[in-house]
């Protein structure tokens, strides 16, 4: 091989090296393009077929709004409280919205409050805790219709 071929190969390799660098930078362009180029929104059918986890979550059926709080067990069993848009304080204290006559409830035991279309329950640092179903609350949690809330010996649920 003559010198010309060597020179061509030598420079060709440098061009190849830079081609690699530039195509990598080109591949990263998407990362820099904010707005116009970046793909947003719903994935296409082809993307879903390739990546099953992208399947859009089926829309939850329209929730029925809870309108009453019914006490099922405990000293106040049978009481029904109409829910409005305002939060409800549960406890033995006199300022509570529903004054629980339950020896195992704290003064300000728990708070039931609406957010969006759902009601959430939050424990207010009670001594014996608030239970949603089987689980003790550690933070505010949404309450589904028919889910049992237990405070002391009082059990209640949300109904339509």
């Amino acid at each position: 091989m003559n010198d010309l071929v060597f020179t061509v190969l030598r420079l060709g390799f440098l061009i190849l090296l830079w081609l690699l660098v530039l195509s990598i930078v080109g591949a990263l362009r998407r990362d820099l393009a904010i707005g116009r180029k970046a793909r947003t929104g719903t994935p296409t059918a082809r993307e879903i077929r390739k990546n099953p986890e992208l399947t859009p979550q089926p829309e939850a059926p329209a929730k029925q709004q809870a309108s009453t709080l019914v006490i099922l067990e405990g000293p106040l069993a049978g009481l029904e409280h109409q829910l409005t848009a305002s939060p409800i304080l549960l406890g033995r204290a006199q300022e509570a919205t529903i004054v629980l006559e339950d020896d195992y409830a704290s003064g300000r035991h728990a708070r039931l409050f609406p957010q969006g279309t759902r009601w959430f329950i939050e424990d207010l640092g009670s001594t014996n805790g608030t239970f949603l179903g089987e689980n003790q609350l550690t933070r505010a949690q949404p309450v589904e219709l028919g889910q049992k809330i237990r405070i002391g010996k009082t059990v209640m649920e949300l109904r339509v």
Binding site: M1, F6, T7, L9, R10, L11, F13, L14, L16, L17, W18, L19, L20, V21, S23, I24, V25, A27, L28, D31, I34, A38, R39, T40, G41, T42, P43, E47, K50, N51, E53, L54, Q57, R92, D103, Y104, A105, S106, G107, Q115, T127, N128, G129, L132, G133, E134, N135, Q136, L137, T138, R139, Q141, P142, G152, K153
Partner: protein, 472 residues
Amino acid sequence: MSELETSPVSRRNMELLLLLLALIVSMGAYYLVGVNSDQGLNQDFITQGLFLAGLSLVFHVVLRIWAKYADPVILPVAVALNGIGLAMIHRIDLAKISSDSNQAGRQILWTGVAMVIAMVTLWAIRDHRILRRFTYIALAASVVLLLLPLIPGFGVILNGARIWVRIGNSLSFQPGELAKITLAIFFAGYLSANRELILLAGKKIGPLQLPRARDLGPMIVAWLVSIGVLVVQRDLGSSILFFGLFMVMIYVATARVSWIVIGMSMLVAGGVFAYLTMSHVTRRIDGWINAFDPEIYNAIGGSRQIVEGLFGLANGGLVGTGLGNGSPYMVPLANSDMIVASLGEELGLIGLTAIVLLFLILISRGMRAALGSRDSFGKLLAAGFSFTIGLQCFVVIGGVTRLIPLTGLTTPFMAAGGSSLLSNWIIVALLLLISHNSRRPMTAGVSATAEVATKAPDHSRGLLSARKESQR
């Protein structure tokens, strides 16, 4: 931070494309070395090239299976750097200046081992947050790894530094390379758990907020052990690397400029102290400032290496002499510590710039993974790892080009040496995992507000043991 909600795309096809290009570059480099040497192409070209290509493609498939959303750029860049390094080592082998002229064969074997271990890491860990559980085990492992070369009969002294251990007769290993991974895991785990304490508690002196000593205790211990051992082992490069890692991770965790101020003053104090008291440091700095002094040039351990490297770079000029046409083998350790000078001579400024850019891309992708990571442990770990690669490049390239004193650190992925290759491939695997976890779509079903009720930790606090409020 405003985050753009994009529908996640796996981008593995892009990776395959770039990977093929990277392989073409590596094979091209190998081919040029063969063409330009007298022997022409031999069997090695085919077998070693196919070996590298096969391994990279297997790695790509592994990513498709276990880390689908990983960054598409990291693997091609690592393969390209590794391939170019291999070609260069092969080229130095062909010059036959040392008795050991199968370094490229050994290097490709190590590449295979390193890539397989990286794949196993990917498969075994899956989620980088698991590593957080091993925070203190990582600290213990770092200490053990750093102390290994000091065990008599086990550690060996090579080139003035006691950082190698010898297993069997031929296999030598540098455990300090792995220690940088375990130390990064420890720093990330410790800092992500104690970030608030370090930030908030403590005295304020002027503009500097000093953390309490006990919050920093384990950090200081880790730092002292790594620096102390390395001063004893006389390895300047690694101690700079560990100190830098320590500083950067604590700065990333706290965003306090005071750490940079403290760190820099400690660095200056340590540097002056080392210069005045340790002969090998004195020699390095003399060889840096007065490199062209004939007395220092001819001294044993003087500046001959660095000056020969500079001559090589000058010989290469803008476009280089072409792979296989220069004389990079004139420089001592041309295939490990000085591989940057060898590449600069044969690829020229244009080629070396491309290589530096490849490193820059790799580091920036690591930082991008850190930015995108959803947990602070992942953020710290990715930032720490990419910084290690960056600092290594800076120390090596800066040393070779006489910007800073030359210290013995390895050029990531390129320099001959199995332990460095192994640890860098593990780092790549972890960066890929972190970027996969940060780009992966959130598992659907659990929205931000609906948190899953956790079982109460203490079941005895049921009704039976409930205290009567009214009787209190």
